[in-house]
Symmetry: C2
Subunit: 345 residues, 2 copies
């Protein structure tokens, strides 16, 4: 299997993607096709002791780079020779089985939707990050690919998230919860009430394991769902709030451990455990965020990804491609559509 | 000043509210009027060594208790002699300057709105909890009093939150931010775009210090605003997500500190610091959540409040009443209304 990697995207490009790609080739049995400026990629390879791309690594030249300042909706048209644009075109041409980029989320979403296209019948692509909770990890879907939601989008997100959780998290029959402000079916706004009804129908038809409305607190502190379904606005608020809280706590913890000589001694005793503690909440461990609903596997790596995060994102792309999650979604899309005459308002 | 306290509301009633009230009388120079079943309150007083209410403490008999199972919208009508209903009626009659209850949030909101009424011109009351961030604390408004939002509600929440932050948190010129999924004015849904425009106008007129859209991450990890304005649905998701993350994190920390003999030794060294660390994130420290927009001061104490939390909620009620935040809001309500012909969509 060959994974196409945008070598120019992210805060630590091109060194981090190149280094992560080389490790993936060594350890995962994949080939990697790097898109970007050959001279810059070559310099990164040289730093790692390679005068030419090692076996399993190829370079696809791309002279431009999509920057955060570029208009996300138009970036791939304005920069047809950008590393992201070239990578997606190669994916479409079948030169690889999946694409990984740490570039602009908005640009990747627009470019993937317009170049690769959505799976037929899927209304919107969704960003599905993996978020830690008390039981391990859950899939959040959507977290901002589309701000506005409709009940039908949420129904589709639920199915897509469930297939992804099964294949990527290895949860055979994932519990799907609807993020809401209370557990009763009457809670929330019109969107949540209508989505609750659609998800209940899908559950009763045996097509999904819907466990009802879940509040943000129980989603995290009890791991009450394996798939947390919501509109992109709410999901983005949820994800960023988790990240903010994690940052606040870890800084407070660090301040505490450096606060006195006695505390520094305690920190020494805890050294190994703190490593494991941090690892559990470290986004670099997962890799990236799957862009579900696109007709070929696309993974958005975090903008701040280091080499290890790129390695993990490539592993994630490999799982998504091998497990054929796109095929799962395409084969079941008939159940994710509202019947004629049942269109959302 | 006399504070009316619902002695029957919350998980730890009546012991915790009675104990918190006695401490408030001793330490804060307030009088307290306890509403509830005299025999049960008397038994709590006896446990604290009092055969009769001590000076500064009075009991207003109320035979019923509003339970979580009661319909929130009708509870105060169905139970006219409930401790909450009686307390609000006494507040209206001027028998005290503020009311504190740890009973059902929905019932308190409905009863306060219908018995005490909103401030003239205020469209919706709002729940305004204090949430920790990297700079100390911020006011979140609304967090679920009304799920749906309009731009005018959010404008009013911004003013009310700013007056409250000034008086309760002591921040002279509080920075007001709009919770959103990006910082550009074009981000979010129609609600956020329209609210951004109204808040910008109010800022330009010198009436509020609007610092623009704030993402959940920066709100917490950088303390980017002193007042975080949002609709009740989004605010509730934000608050519960913070609580869930705090719970997950503190359990993981506890597991780590009990994980080995070496770690237990470290925990001993850290003992005092961990107390301070927990205190910083402990909801009991703040007291309760102000119900802003009601024409007399009403404080919702957390359902799980202990005696110390009730003491703090009474202190908070005292500040809100002494500072006359209701007067601040009423005096400025003309600036919080959309002009005729500018009504929200």
């Amino acid at each position: 299997m060959r994974i196409i990697v945008d070598a120019m995207g992210g805060d630590n490009a091109p060194q981090a993607p190149v280094e992560g790609a080389l490790r993936a080739v060594r350890e995962l049995g994949v080939e990697v096709l790097l898109t970007g400026r050959p001279a810059e990629i070559g310099a990164c390879l040289a730093k790692l002791g390679h005068t030419a791309p090692p076996p399993g690594v190829e370079i696809a030249p791309a002279s431009q780079v999509i920057e955060m300042e570029d208009n996300p909706a138009r970036a791939f048209k304005d920069k047809p020779d950008a590393s992201m644009t070239v990578g997606l075109r190669l994916l479409k041409e079948g030169r690889g089985e999946a694409f990984v980029s740490a570039g602009s989320t908005g640009a990747l979403l627009s470019a993937a939707t317009l170049l690769i296209k959505r799976i037929r019948g899927i209304r919107r692509a969704a960003l599905a990050p993996v978020v830690p909770n008390a039981r391990g990890n859950m899939v959040l879907i959507d977290c901002g690919a589309t701000a506005e939601g409709t009940p039908e989008y949420l129904l589709q997100f639920a199915f897509m998230g469930a297939y992804y959780a099964r294949r990527f998290l290895g949860i055979e029959n994932p519990r799907v919860g609807l993020l809401n402000i209370g557990t009763e079916p009457s809670k929330g706004m019109e969107l949540q009430k209508a989505a609750h009804a659609l998800l209940t129908q899908a559950h009763e038809a045996g097509r999904i394991r819907f466990v009802g409305n879940i509040e943000g607190r129980e989603a995290i502190s009890q791991g009450a769902a394996d798939v947390l379904v919501t509109d992109g606005f709410t999901g983005n608020i949820f994800l960023k709030t988790v990240e903010g809280a994690a940052s606040l706590f870890s800084h407070a913890l660090k301040d505490m451990l450096l606060g006195s000589t006695k505390n520094k001694l305690a920190a020494l005793l805890l050294k190994n455990s703190i490593g494991a503690f941090k690892k559990r909440f470290d986004a670099n461990e997962v890799g990236g965020t799957a862009l579900l609903g696109i007709s070929q596997p696309v993974i958005k790596a975090h903008g701040s990804s280091n080499a290890y995060a790129f390695f993990n994102a490539i592993r994630q792309a490999q799982v998504v491609a091998q497990a054929d999650i796109v095929g799962d979604i395409a084969a079941n899309v008939a159940h994710m559509r509202l019947e004629p005459g049942e269109k959302e308002g």
